[in-house]
Amino acid sequence: MSDPKIEGYQFKPGFSGMAHDTASDQTMFKGVHWGKAMMWIFLLSDTFIFSCFLISYMKGRGSTPVEWPNPSEVFGLHVFGVDVPLLLIAIMTFVLITSSGTMALAVKYGYEKNKKMCGWLILATAIGGLTFVGMQAFEWSKLIHEGVRPWENPFGAPQFGSFFFMITGFHGTHVSIGVIFLFIYAYKTFAGHYDEKKRGWFTSMKGDYVEIEILGLYWHFVDLVWVFIFAFFYLW
C-alpha cells in the first residue's frame, strides 16, 4: 500500500519513518481511520483474552492426573461405514477460511464503490459464518449425546469437556456476533448507507466503506483464533 497524501507532511521510509510518524503531531498512524485503529487495539486486547484461555488450557491439560482423550477418536465421524478422523473439523475450518476470502473481496469491492458485489459478498461471508456456527452446534450436540459435559467426560479427563465447551463456546460467540454484524452491514450496504454517508442512530459518525474493512479485520481475527484453537484442541 502506498502512503496517503497529507498536505505539509513528508513521509520517510522504514524504521526512521515509523519514528518520524510517532514524533509528529495530530496522528501517529497517518491516514488511518479512527475506527480502524480502534479495531486493531481491541483485537490486541482480545488476543490477550484468547491467550489466557489457551494458556489456561495448556496448564489444565498438563496438571490433571487423568489421561487426556485422543482427539482423533473423539472428534472422528463415522461416514459410509468408515471412521474418518477430524472430518467435520476439516469442513468447518474450510468454510471459515473461505469466508475470510469472501470478506476480503467484499472490502475490495466496497472501496471500489461496487455496492452490489460488496453486499452479496458480505452476505456470503455471513452465510459461511452461520454454517460454521451450525456445524459447531452439531459437534456440540454429538459430544453431549456421547456423554461429554463441562463437568464430566467418559473418554478421560473431565477438564477436556470444560475447556472444550468454554473455549469453542467463547469463539463461537465471537463468530455469532460477527454474523449479526455482517447481516447488518449487508443491509446497510444494499440500502446505500455508505454511499450517502448516512449517520448512525444516536451517533455522529458518518457511514463509510471503511467500516466494512473494520468488520473484516474482526472477521479475519476470529478466523485466526480458530486456527490456534484447531491446532491446540484437534491436533495436539
Partner: protein, 610 residues
Amino acid sequence: MSEDFNNNKIIHAQSSETIGGASGSPDMDYVRPAETGDQDLYHGHSFITKWIFCQDAKVIGVQYFLLATFTGIIGLILSWLMRLQLGFPGLAGFMTAEHYYQFVTMHGMIMVVYFLTALFLGGFGNYLIPLMCGARDMVFPYLNMISFWMFFIAVGVLLASFFVPGGPTGSGWTLYPPQSILEGTPGSGWGILLMCLSLILFVAGFTMGGLNYLITVLQARTRGMTLMRMPLTVWGIFTATVLAMLAFPALLVGSLMMSLDKVLGTSFFMPTILKAGEVLEYGGGSPILFQHLFWFFGHPEVYIVALPAFGIISDLISVHARKNIFGYRMMVWAIVGIGALSFFVWAHHMYVSGMNPWFGFFFATTTLIIAVPTAMKVYNWILTLWRGNIRLNTVMLWCLGFIVTFVNGGITGIFLGNVTVDVPLSDTYFVIAHFHMVMGIAPLMVIMGAVYHWFPLVAGKFLDEKLGKWHFWLTFLGAYSIYFPMHYLGFIGVPRRYFEMYDSPYVTSAVGMNEFISIAAFIVGAAQFILIFNIIKTLKTGKPAGHNPWKACSLEWLTPSVPPEHGNWGDRLPVVHRWAYDYSVPGAKEDFITQTTPPSEVANTEVEKT
C-alpha cells in the same frame, strides 16, 4: 538524539538557523494544516441526552467521578466497620466473623477497581484527555456513553450482592479458589457469582472507554500537539489504559472460569477436595492457575492506579511551583518503562503459594528493577520543587503529602519484593500498611490535589482554601497515624484478615495500638466529608475563578468558555507551539507561556526546544 545534548536545546529565537525563519516572521509560527476535517458531534437537545445518556466526555467524566465517589464512600464505611471490630472487638453486636470477611472483600474490591480505577481513568481520563490533547471530544462519544452505563450496571450488580441470600462474597479481594466457591466461605453462592459477573461487566465497559482514550491520544490530537508535548497527565492515563487493555483480559478469563466452576461444576481451579471425610465432585484443577491469572491482572492494576497519579502529580507540582517539570522526557520514559515492567512481576504476590525458587529469584529481580524508574520520578518531582517559586496552597500540600507517602510505601515495597524478607512478613499487617500507603493513600492524595486543582475548571469556582487545609492536615496526619503503627504490628507478627486476636501472645502490645488506629481511621474517614461540604458550599457561594486561574500552560485552561462547553473549543481548534511546561522562562513577560503562544510572540526568550 545527539542534538538534544548540544547547546541548541535552548532556542535563542534570534538565531535564524534553528527555526528557519527570521525573528518575528510568520514562518516561524508555521504549523502544518489539519489532516482530517473537524469532528462531527451529537449535540444533546433534551435533559436526557444532555445529562443522562450524554455523549460529552466531560459530562461522562463527571458521571464516572460521582459514581466512583459514591462507591468509594461505601468502601469507606466498610473500612469503618472493620476498624470498629479490630479496635473494639464485640462493640458492634451485629458483627460476626462472616460479616467481617465480607466487608474486607468488598472494601478491597471496591476501592481498587470500582473507586480508584474508575475515578482515574473514567473520571480524569474522560474529562482531561480531550481537553489536554486539544480534541473536541473523545473519538467515539457513543461508545464512551455506553462505557459509563456498563460501569453503572457493574456497580449495581456488585452492590446487589449485599442483598442476595448469603450476602456478598467473603473470600478476600483476591477471590482465591477453592475456598471462594466452597460452602463455609460467606457468600459462596450468589455473592461470588455476582462479584464475577460484575467484574466481567466492568471489564467490558472499561474496554469501550479504554479504546476511546487510546485512539483519542494517538489519532485525534490538535495541530502541533506531538506526543512529546503532551502533559504528563495524559501520558500517565494513556499508559495506564494500555496496561488495562492488556491486563483486564486475565481478570475476565479468571472470573469467567470461576463462575463456570461455581455454576456448571467444572474443575478449572478445583483440585480433589476432602470435606468432612467425603470427596467432593471437583477434581483435577489447579488453584494456582487462578492466582496466576488474578495477579497477571492484579499487578498491572497497581500501576493502572499509580501511573495516572504520577502523571497528574507532575502537572500539579509544575504549575504550583512555577517551574518546568524536571526531566520531562525521562518522566515519559519512566512511565512507559514502569508500565512495561509491570507485566513481569506478578508472581511476587505469590511467594508463599509455593513456586520454584528460581522463579522467586526472577520475580524478585524484576520487582526491584521497577524501583529504578520509580525513584527517577521521585527525584524529578523533588528537583522540580528545588528552587521553584512554590505556592504553598492546598493543591501543593496534597502534592507534598503524596511524595512523602509514596516514598514511604515504596520503601516498604522493597522489603516485600525480596523473597526472604517477604516470607516472614507475608500476610501480616506490614503488607496492609505497605499497599495502603503506596496505592491507597498516595493516589488518594493525588485525587484530592487534582480535585482542588481542576475544580475551578469544572465548576468555575475556587474551593475554599481554609477547609481544604483542614481536610489535608487531618487526612495526612491521620493516615500516618493509621498506617505507621501497622508496620510495627506486622513486625511483631500480627496476621491480617483475622476477625479477632483472642488470647494470642500479641494481644498486650497490639490491643492499644489497634484502638488508636481505629480512632484515627474514624477521624480520617470523617475528614473526607469536609470535601463534600466544601464542594456544596463552593457551588453556592464560592469565589468565581475565571479563565486560567492558576496561570497554567496546558490546553485545558485555554478554552473560550469556563467551564468548557460541548465541543470544547468554540469555532476554532487550538494550535500548539510548545510543551505544557514553559513556566518562569527567562526573558518572558509573564512567568508562564501557554501552549498556544506562537514563537514570534516570545522572541528574545530562552524557551526550551520541544
